[in-house]
């Protein structure tokens, strides 16, 4: 039993000390807190690349969250913060791809495909409609 307790205490100590974790950031303004949450969800963690900046526990993510917090407190808007991130880490850090240049095709493809498809559907339906009318005339 004693050995187990020692192991338990050790494990808990390890859990507690394993992180030099930053305290959760304190917001006095709920609107700003929401803005912070929405922004950090749209940014990608560079270490744990499958997570966004809001959810990641990586030390770099904590540092960047703190950085973003301070920028918001000093009055910077979302565009300025995103520019800050992109200047240092490139477009990779944005989960919302920019519109334009490289990514024009990405954003426009669905609309273009829908347009082409709608035209194809139009002609198909018109074709069928005419055949139906022809059938009726014959029969």
């Amino acid at each position: 039993m004693t050995l187990k307790n020692i192991l338990l205490a050790l494990a808990l100590g390890l859990i507690a000390a394993a992180t030099h974790a930053a305290d959760p950031l304190v917001f006095n303004d709920p609107a700003m807190e929401e803005r912070y949450n929405d922004l950090t969800v749209e940014l990608r963690c560079l270490v744990c690349q499958n997570q966004n900046l809001a959810d990641s526990d990586a030390p770099l993510a904590q540092d960047l969250r703190k950085e973003i917090y301070e920028m918001m407190m000093s009055g910077q808007d979302n565009e300025q913060i995103k520019t800050f991130m992109v200047e240092r880490y490139g477009d990779f850090v944005l989960y919302r791809p920019a519109v334009g240049g490289n990514t024009l095709l990405l954003w426009l493809m669905p609309g273009i495909l829908l347009g082409i498809g709608a035209i194809a559907v139009f002609f198909t339906v018109r074709n069928r409609n005419r055949r139906l009318a022809a059938d009726r005339q014959k029969g």
Binding site: L46, V47, Q49, P59, L60, D63, L64, E67, V86, E87, R88, Y89, G90, F92
Partner: protein, 178 residues
């Protein structure tokens, strides 16, 4: 008939993309640096072990150097270290160390144990300057030219191949040595 070939053709194009994807899969988590070709970020940081002595980025302009981002908690840095030592010893280029988010005592102990090839070691305790450099993992290294521009970034350990292919040619171009 042509209309019905469209799916096959589209699919084969997809197949080509996936084949290329397989070839570049090893590098898929590497993020290229947007700082290539630009002036290195501004900073003023203390020397490791001498907190009263500050070094600014301007002081480093003039002679090219390799900025090696390292830390005592970084396992790969230990693997990389002999290569860095060899590079410094060869006199090809000076190596400046950026000690990233480390405790001074730990960093000094690490250098004492594994060797200190650095011409200069600056301490980035908070990691803020590293963020300005776009550092996201250790080790990383930045090759800076005589005008202070970043010309190349190595993500991960510097290897003899990297030195041969990326550093040597550029140093020759600059025609200078330390």
């Amino acid at each position: 008939m042509i209309g019905r070939l469209v799916p096959v053709i589209l699919f084969l194009a997809l197949g080509v993309l996936l084949a290329v994807g397989l070839k570049i899969a090893d590098h898929k988590t590497e993020i290229p640096s947007p700082l290539i070709g630009k002036q290195m970020p501004e900073f003023t940081l203390p020397v490791l072990g001498q907190p009263e002595v500050m070094v600014s980025h301007e002081e480093l302009i003039g002679t090219p150097f390799l900025l090696n981002v390292w830390a005592s908690w970084c396992v790969t840095c230990r693997v990389e270290h002999p290569v860095i030592e060899e590079l410094a010893r060869s006199g090809l280029i000076r190596v400046v160390g950026l000690n990233y988010r480390d405790e001074e005592a730990d960093a000094q102990a690490w250098l004492a144990r594994f060797g200190n090839p650095y011409a200069l070691n600056i301490a980035d305790i908070t990691g803020r300057t590293a963020i300005d450099f776009g550092v996201y993992a250790a080790p990383e290294s930045f090759l800076v030219d005589p005008e202070g521009n970043i010309v190349f970034k190595q993500i991960g350990a510097v290897t003899p191949e990297v030195i041969e292919e990326e550093i040597v040619p550029r140093v020759r171009e600059w025609g200078k040595g330390p």
